[in-house]
Amino acid sequence: VASLENARLRAPAHHVSPRARWYWATRAAGGWLILLGVEAAALFAVGITPMAITLVITALIGLAHLIVMPQWRYRVHTWEDAGGAVYTQTGWITQERRIAPVNRIQTVDTHRGPIEQLFRLSNITVTTASAAGPLRIHGLDRRTADQLVATLTQRTQATEDDAT
């Protein structure tokens, strides 16, 4: 028990695809551009100085976000198929680790959005019978994702009961 107290859980072993950084940056840039567009339209319509200052500040915050967030996220987002369990870590300012024992897994799905296809990325969702605990691995290289899905599906089929 003493060793239990002292041992520390490490982060999952594998990083996601480095291209995920560009995907995150692109997605965030979209949001900032919409906000800037609205502010620019307001500036054009009203034309007062405080509006211009807001626009500049928004642009600076957006730029900082685009530089810091993808790098930070890339360092955090990791995953591991640890034999008996699937283990993921996500987030950047707030971070979250999730573990699901393999014998409790119900489905393993892949999903690719339009922007993700552009960057040749895949997402994996691992669900259990609980509505609280789906594991998501975002921004995986497509080949890695396919391999992971194949091995997980094979192993979950081996379990017999209804995994609740």
């Binding site: 028990v1 239990l4 107290e5 002292n6 041992a7 520390r8 859980l9 490490r10 999952p12 591991e80 640890a82 034999g83 008996g84 369990a85 283990y87 300012i93 707030t94 971070q95 979250e96 680790r97 999730r98 573990i99 699901a100 024992p101 409790r104 259990t128 019978a129 609980s130 509505a131 609280a132 605990g133 594991l135 209804d162 995994a163 609740t164």
Partner: protein, 499 residues
């Protein structure tokens, strides 16, 4: 009285439903009938049109009985219904998770019940009620429930009821009218009260009644200027509180009168309750993952508590009367503890002292409660200074006292424990919940750490289950402790993940 069965084993629902369907459907279509009457009132034919529509509604409602049949064989139950679009719904008997028997007023007058068979969460399609047999003889319904839950199916063609025999039951809780004294502190009536007030205001508004011109109210309005405003406010608050207490009590009596919790020989739990509409809910033993002891603040002050079941295939309802999860309505805390322990068959997880979460967790409760209050207060005070509001505004600073009390209470609530094969978690102040779930009922873990939690070496650990609220949080627990909780509940899962 056994029902006629055709050669393939298909049975009809009780013919007495022919009396219920027209009443229910005509009641439902009252707005339509009123519309027709009103639309035809100019030409004077409104009454005939109304009568015609009523006849159509009644005929359609009667076809429901003629087109519905059900069949139970060795491994499934089938329901076939629909006039133009024939539908057959199947449920495998080994997938049946819950069997509810309800009877509304009309049902009870005619000795009928409605049986709702739930096949649980694995049913992902939109079929919230599972499979419903609306209108079988109450005795048949009770026998059907027993059969479905124990999979001891009597051959349908011999449905005389002898072979299903009376099941031995063990009483776990029986309603005591003295419990009603806890009903006003339940606050379930608050929502109803708000709805009633909202509804009344809308009617007043729609009817273009100017409240200021209504006689008694105008007098009252004139008096406000002379009487002290504080007096009026006090009276209004008392009126509202009495109203909420009354609606809470009425709701409590309607929902929980005759409450009876039993355990069958097969291990399944059975709840029956209700004054006018009676409700019978069964929870199969192997679906039960644990119990929750819930104490809303007011109820806690008067020494009351309620007990809920945590089971797969049962959604947790809001308020104390919704959902099939109630194992004990608001009652003395001692009774709630006794019932929870009886359901778990051990009292360790219910009464054992919990592990506290340490000084960092306490500091976080204070920072969050006081910090937010302080922020709002300072903004208000700043505006007050600029706008020159009167000084009594500073009295608002007194809200820091209840905020601090809340923080302390929230900290004292925090705790967890691993005991008797259960994971026990407690948290909350406005509603304090102590949850005991079976350790092998935990099917996943979520370790969430905000920026501040990382600096303090804390995390919020969520144990995911397929039952109840789906996830139960251990708030602000330190890392090593969280890891040992995971290691005990899910043996082997952390192997090779430690450094």
């Amino acid at each position: 009285v056994s029902l006629p069965i055709d050669s393939d084993g298909w049975r009809r629902l009780s013919p007495r439903m022919l009396l219920i369907h027209p009443v229910v459907e005509v009641t439902k279509s009252i707005p339509l009938l009123l519309g027709v009457l009103f639309a035809g009132s100019h030409s004077g034919t409104g009454a005939y049109w109304g009568l015609g529509v009523a006849v159509v509604v009644i005929v359609l409602s009667l076809t429901r009985w003629f087109t519905t049949r059900y069949r139970i064989d060795d491994d499934q139950i089938q329901l076939r219904h629909g006039l133009l679009r024939r539908q057959t719904v199947n449920a495998r008997l080994d997938r049946v998770r819950t069997v509810d028997v309800t009877a509304h007023l009309l049902h009870r007058v005619l000795g009928l019940s409605r049986v709702t068979i739930g096949t649980g969460t694995s049913d992902r399609r939109r079929r919230p009620d599972g499979l419903t047999l609306d209108g079988v003889d109450t005795d048949d319904a009770q026998r059907l429930r027993a059969e479905l839950l124990h999979h001891v199916l009597a051959a349908p063609e011999q449905g005389s009821g002898e072979q299903a025999g009376p099941l031995r039951e063990q009483d776990l809780a029986i309603f005591d009218p003295a419990w009603i004294r806890y009903a006003p502190f339940n606050l379930s009536g608050a929502v109803t009260a708000l709805a009633v007030v909202g509804f009344a205001l809308r009617i007043v508004n729609d009817a273009h009644v100017d409240l200021a011109k209504v006689g008694p109210l105008r007098h009252a309005g004139n008096d406000v200027t002379s009487a002290s405003l504080i007096g009026i406010v006090v009276i209004a608050v008392i009126v509202v509180l009495v109203f909420i207490a009354l609606t809470s009590t009425t709701g409590y009596v309607l929902a929980f009168w005759g409450f009876h919790l039993t355990r069958h020989e097969g291990g399944s739990l059975h709840v029956s309750r209700g004054l006018i509409t009676t409700r019978n809910t069964s929870i199969e033993h192997r679906r039960l993952r644990g119990v929750e002891l819930s104490e809303p603040l007011l109820l806690r002050w008067v020494g009351g508590a309620r007990t809920l079941a945590i089971a797969t295939g049962l959604r947790v309802g809001r308020g104390s009367e919704r959902g099939g999860t109630v194992l004990l309505p608001p009652a003395p805390a001692g009774e709630a503890i006794r019932v929870a322990a009886a359901v778990l068959e051990t009292d360790g997880p219910i009464v054992a002292p919990l592990r506290a979460h340490g000084p960092s967790a306490r500091r976080r409760r204070y920072v969050r409660a006081l910090g937010v209050t302080l922020l709002v207060l300072s903004i208000l005070l700043a505006i007050g200074l600029i706008e020159g509001w009167p000084w009594p505004l500073a009295l608002l600073a007194l809200v820091m006292v209840p905020a601090a009390l809340l923080a302390e209470d929230r900290y004292r609530s925090l705790g967890h424990l691993l005991t008797h094969g259960h994971l026990v978690v407690r948290s909350g102040s406005l509603v304090r919940r102590r949850v005991a779930i079976k350790q092998d009922g935990v099917i996943g873990w979520k370790m969430r750490r905000t920026f501040f939690q990382r600096r303090l070496g804390l995390m919020t650990l969520t144990a995911a289950t397929a039952a109840g609220r789906q996830g139960y949080r251990i708030i602000d627990v330190d890392l090593a402790e969280a890891e040992s909780v995971i290691a005990v509940c899910s043996p082997g899962v952390l192997d090779g993940l430690r450094c």
